[in-house]
Every structure is written in C-alpha cells, then in structure tokens.
Symmetry: C2
Subunit: 452 residues, 2 copies
C-alpha cells in the first residue's frame, strides 16, 4: 500500500451516470501527492480495516463528523469575472441598456489593476466559499488584468480557465471599451496564452488560457479566424456565447446566413475543448455539430431568465449527445452559487415542460419531456462540467482530482431539516437547501482552499 | 418627547408604493413600549440632534454599523408547517404520488406531539433566521399539535397565524389522515379558535387562529359551510388553496359548475381577512370577486414550478386590485426563504413575459407586460403581505409594528459585492444576494427574536 497524502473517511454523493447518483457510504478516500483520488475503499473491502488502522489519528487522516457529507466541487462554465462588481443590479433593464449603462462601463474599469485586484480576489474567494472548485472565466479586454485573474486563481488554489476577451468590431463595441484593433487583439491574446501556460507549469491544480471571442457580433471575421488559429496552435480551450437571445441569433443569421454554431465552426472555434455559453436557440443541426466536434454547452439558467428570451432545452440537447455543464453567468445571473443554479436548472426545465401561461389549455402549454431531475441537474453542475472541459474532475472516482466540498448539515445556525432521513433524501435536502454557510471545507487537487 | 423603548439609527429600505422603494438614510426609528414605530426622524429634522443626544450611549440605543441596513421583516402567507420535515425531497414526483407517498404520511405523524415539537420548533427558528417575522401557517388535522405550533410561535416571538387543517371528505382523503367526521372537524376547529384567541391575549406580537379548509376537494359541503360560519362568528382569518393546478381547478368546476373563487364565496370563505394560496388559474371575474371581498392571493412562485402547471400572473392580478403577498409554500416550495421566493417571483414573471419555448417565434412566445420589478417583488414580500393579512406590518412607517431584519453586508464569510455603490444598488444587491447568514438580527413587535 503506497503512502497517501490524505485519507478521508465519510459518506459522499457522486454521479454514477447522467440520471443516477451513487452513495459512497462510509468510504475511505485515498488521495495521492498529486491530489488525485488513488483509491476508493468501501467498508466491505478487506483492506478497509488495515488502512484505517494505519491512518487513524494521523494528521493527514480526516474523519467526517456526523451530519457531514462530501460532494464533488462544482464546476462553473460561465463567469464574467469583472461583472461581479455589479452582480444583482440593473436586472430590470433591457439587455442593451444593461450592457451600455452598466456592464461595459464596469468592465472598462479593469484597466485599473487595483480595482481588478479587489473585485477578482473577492470573486474567487466567494466562488470557493460557494463550493466551486473549477471556473471558466471571461475576464475583460485588458491583458494585464486578465493575467491578474489567472494569478489570483493560482494563488487561492482554484482551478481557473481564464480568457482575455476579444471584442474588436467597431460597429458593435463602444469606443471606450474594445480592443485597439484586430492585430493587437490577436497579439495580446497570444501573449496572454503563453504567459498563462507558463503560470500553469507552477500551479498544482492547473490554470489554463482560454481563447475568448466575446461573441460573434463583437468580433470581426479576421479576429474570429485568428482566434481559431491561435487555439489550434496552442491547443487551448475556447469559449464564447452562442445563440443566446433572439437578437444575437438573428444578427448572426443576418451576417453569415447561418446559425452561430456553423459560423463559429467555420472559424475553427468548435472543437473538443470548446464551451459555448447559453445556446438557447440552437437547432437540432447545431446540436449535432456540437456533438460531432465535442463542443459543450454552458447552461446558465438564472441568467437566461433576464437576458435570453427563453429556456435552454437542456434535456433535449443532452439527448443529442452534447456535453452540458452549468454556468452562473455572473452577472447576467445574479448568484455566484451553483447550488442556486442547479435548482434553477430544475425549475427552468419544469417550466418549459409545464408551460407558463395558465390561459392556454394544459395540453398546449408546455414542451413535454423537458424536465430535469434533481440528480440530472447535479450531474450538470459536477460531472457534466468536467466532461465539457475535458478534465478529470466532477466525480468522486479513482483517477479524478480530489476537488470536493464538505457539507455540514447540522450547524446550529444553518441546520438542514433532516429528521432520520435515508441518505437519498439527505442528498436531495442538501441540493435544495444548503447555503454557503453549510460548506464547511473546500478542497482542490488535494489541497484545502476554504474552511469555515 | 415621550420615552421610547428603543431607538435605532441607520438606513432602511421600505416600500413607498407598489413600484417605489423609499430609502430612509440615517434615520432615527423610535419604538414605543408596544413595539410600534412611533416616530421616524430624518437627519434633516430639527429634533434629530436632541433625540440622538438623549439616547446615544444608552442600552436601548442601537446604531447600525457601516454596511448594515434595515429591511422590514418578511411576511410568509403560505407555509405547511408539518411539511418542513420533508422539505427539499421528492420534488421529482407528480403531485398525487408526492401527496400520498410523502406528504400525507408525514402530516399524519403530527399526532405525535414530540415529533411535532421537534419539527415545528426547528421550522419557526429557521423562518426567523430567514428574516420572516409573520407567518400564515397550515398545521395538520390534529388540534393538539396545531395548538403546539401556535404556542411555539408565541414563545419564540414570531407573529403566527395558525390553522388546524380541515379535511373531512372521505372520497379525497386517506383514511389514516383525515378528520374523523364533519362534526368533529368543526367542533375541534371551534375549540382551536377559542384557545388560540386566549393565547393571543398573552402574546405581545399577536397569535391568530385561522379557519383552514385544506382545499375544496378535501372538504364536504357541510364542512365548508360550517367553517364559513365559524370564521364569521369569531372574526378570524381564513386560508385555503384556490385554483392551484389544472386538476384542482377542473375538480371544482366539475363539482360546483363554477370556479373555486365563486364556490368558496358561496360558503362565506372570501372576506377581508381571507388569503387564498396560489390562484394560478383564476379568471378575471374571480379576481374581481377577490378584490370586491378583500380576499388576498398568496403567490408561491417556487412551489408553483413543481405542482401548479403554470405561472401565477401576479402583475395582471394585482392590476385588478387584488392584494398579493408571497408564500414559500414549504414544502411544495423547498426554500424557507422569502429572499429566494421574491427572486423567484421576479424570475417567474420574466419567464411568463418572455415565454419559454425557443422554437416559438418571439412575438408569440410569452405574455407581454407580465414582468415584476425587483421592487415590486419586494413589495409583495413585505407591504403586500401586511395588506393581505389586514395587519399594520410590512413597512418602516409610523404606526407600523417594528418587525425588521438587519442585514449585514460586510461579514467576512458572506460579504456582498458592494464596491462604493449608491444605496439604490445596495438595495438590489441585498435582495438578490443576501443569505440567512447576512441576517444579523430580527425583531418582531419591538422585541429581538433572532441574533447571530
């Protein structure tokens, strides 16, 4: 038996498949020096007692208390980090006003590195405190501030995938907030990629650069083409927005005579490590293209309510073989919590299935077979996020990273209503009722990164 | 100047009208011995300095710290107290299975007063910790356990309106969980009313009995008639469910050849102190009857997602003069928080307005002019609840009860993302991002009932 860096004992919940959750009751979790789950040992296993005897009482042995449970850390596939400064505000405004009166001015302030430091550090700490261990970030157009975000993730122990945003289309971007020109946008993106790949070499949990055209409307053809080439050259992740709203969907149809998915693909922007936010209006052919290229969709159920004109048909798109994870979309979505977002993923799916307008007869009101179960929404928040990023994260399984959150259900100030429930119900109660306060510890790649 | 029981100094947010919020910046709030706001004094008022000098430094003077704000306590118009034991579970099930496999068996357990004590005490404390100062409760059919809930509210300082549930229709109620017969149902209801009205005499914040036919399907005509008479005789509040789902709405149409509202009215169950839960399927004539009788609607936006087949058109119904407040509907709604529910009230209204099915063209997808603003949802959670109950609560105004929550936005473990924001934005950030952890103190009728 090798020497482990840490051994945990307790009960964990993890996705076994899209619809099924496995309960690892009183297991031992053996974490190696690289922060990987090397062995999962059930109480029935004959090594269990020996291992317990070997580690019990040692400093690197962690027995969960009564009422504590392990969940995989959450994976947030869509965060506009700079917008954290305005989270929760201006949600009554239409998108255009929200962008021009609030969002672009806020993002423009990230030329100031002091401001960037204060907002980004607060955000990364907040996301960790919400149990989110891996995040796919849009930063801003500013290369230096984007690098700062990557460094803050590295320092605070979060697995960050960070993009310097490209927006070079003078027709669609305000003059106070855009790339100086296409050439500079591409040059700075390349420099950013190289610097972050350097940073990654010194970072245990991984820090990755992401090629990030904001969305098609804000980019010129030359920028989109150049970004596709950079992603291929450096084998990076790619992120953008795809068919988010009526307006965006129609804009792209007008400019390219095709849907976002096919336009993005023409520029080399759909591939195994591509994650496209929203995708509310993608058609079946678009979904097939996603599945064929390995492109994932970031479902942002709270944000969609405010700025997207409809519900992402997650169940239907998933059935077509598309990888799906969840995104908070701070600050189109007000909440930094994937607990809130997985609840809203269930809610949105139910509202799509039932329909909303009670003056319409029941048989014509909704779209049948749209509902997500609680376990399926949990899958999106964890394992689905890992698949989307092509990283071994999001499950409590051997050879996965030890990225976890420990949920305490018995805190006097935040007790969950558990009265002798079976573990299946404890799991449901955690998913629907846990607050950040219940998240006692968070670990990323075998390192403790948050504790309260 | 009279002697006040308490004087607070700080900034509060309160509804000025349905759509407008007033900001009481650095006001003094003078609370009398009865727990009523006797004077609100602005910093511009010439009494301000004198009063400050008189009270500052005294034990009953409370200056809010930097980053702390006062909101009115929330008013929850619909809680099935017994269902707290199962909150967050079984939400993937259809209503009938949810009721028969989970809900009725759980409610039946409240014949056991020890179990009732543990669940009810936990619930009342939880609701207080969530900033909810007044609650309209369904208990269960059991008179003793229902009285216990009223006593727990009295002891813990919450303003409770409690109903012993009546369900005497053998065709619709399981034999292990219903009133023994109609006569006993009415007799026990009357005894319950008398005992709670006695209890109220010793309770500063008010504890009120509520006539509570579960809903029309679970009651015989005789029970409904008798309950209407009891409500009139003892001048009590009345609560039930009204046109919640397709099934209920159709059942009543079938049995009475009219909508719930008119059927309830025939039994004397719609009046100034009536609050009907859900009302998702009420027609304009029903709404007019509500307005004419003073009946209020309890909007339960989270619960509606799971069991109601559509969105309550809150904006439209409110425009017809109907009083509306919010209900968590624990446990059809999983969350005990009215913060969560006011967020969902906004979300549901936006989804009704935008529609949900992205395969339908934008102009046919939703119901225009349905959206609620953040301030309007806040109104429902506070002032609208007070109007619905015909009680002077839900606003920070003279002659209203000092029912408040103090929100701390600067806790190291739960800091809100406030970066030099104007107070209008602070208010929005509190509404969208506050957690129970941010609720530092809760007061009801001038008494502190929760602190952390």
């Amino acid at each position: 038996m090798p020497k482990f860096a840490h051994v945990f004992q307790g009960t964990a919940f993890s996705s076994k498949s899209f619809s099924e959750v496995t309960i690892l009751k009183d297991y031992l979790y053996c974490i190696n020096q690289n922060g990987i789950i090397e062995k999962l040992i059930s109480p029935e296993d004959k090594q269990y007692e020996a291992l317990l005897n070997e580690y019990e009482g040692k400093e690197n042995f962690h027995r969960l208390s009564e009422g504590e449970y392990v969940l995989p850390g959450f994976i947030d596939l869509h965060v506009h980090a700079a917008q954290w400064a305005q989270s929760g505000t201006a949600l009554d405004l239409p998108l255009e006003e929200w962008l021009n009166a609030y969002t672009f001015p806020v993002e423009a302030k990230f030329s100031n590195l002091d401001f960037a430091q204060s907002v980004y550090e607060d955000l990364v700490k907040t996301l960790l405190a919400n149990g989110t261990t891996t995040v796919l970030y849009f930063a801003t157009v500013h290369k230096e501030a984007s690098l700062l975000l990557a460094k803050i993730c590295a320092d605070l122990g979060q697995r960050g995938l960070v993009g310097k945003v490209v927006m070079d289309n003078v027709e669609q971007c305000p003059d106070y907030y855009r790339d100086a020109n296409t050439e500079i946008a591409l040059k700075e993106t390349e420099e950013f990629i190289i610097e972050v790949q350097q940073l990654n070499k010194q970072t245990k949990q991984g820090i990755f650069p992401v090629v990030t055209p904001r969305f098609i409307p804000s980019c010129t053809d030359e920028a989109l083409k150049g970004l596709g080439e950079l992603a291929a050259k450096y084998n990076t992740h790619i992120q953008s927005h795809c068919s988010e709203s009526d307006w965006q969907h129609d804009y792209v149809k007008d400019r390219f005579k095709k849907h976002d998915a096919f336009a993005l693909n023409d520029f080399g922007l759909l591939q195994e490590k591509s994650i496209m936010a929203h995708c509310n209006f993608i058609a079946d052919e678009d979904a097939k293209l996603f599945a064929a290229t390995g492109t994932a969709a970031a479902h942002c159920p709270i944000s969609n309510v405010f700025f997207s004109n409809g519900v992402f048909p997650a169940k239907h798109i998933h059935e077509q073989g598309v990888d799906i994870g969840l995104g908070t979309d701070v600050s189109g979505g007000f909440s930094p919590s994937l607990f809130d977002n997985l609840r809203q993923a269930v809610i949105a799916s139910r509202m799509l299935e039932e329909g909303v307008d009670t003056t319409v007869s029941g048989d014509k009101r909704g779209v049948s077979s749209s509902r997500l179960t609680t376990s399926e929404a949990f899958y999106f928040a964890t394992a689905g996020g890992g698949e989307s990023l092509s990283l071994p994260i999001g499950k409590i399984e051997e050879n996965y990273a030890w990225d976890i959150q420990i949920i305490n259900t018995t805190l006097p100030t935040a007790k969950l209503p558990i009265f002798n429930d079976p573990l299946e119900d404890v799991f449901q109660k955690i998913l629907y009722l846990a607050r950040p306060e219940n998240i006692q510890e968070v670990w990323v790649q075998g390192e403790q990164v948050h504790r309260r």
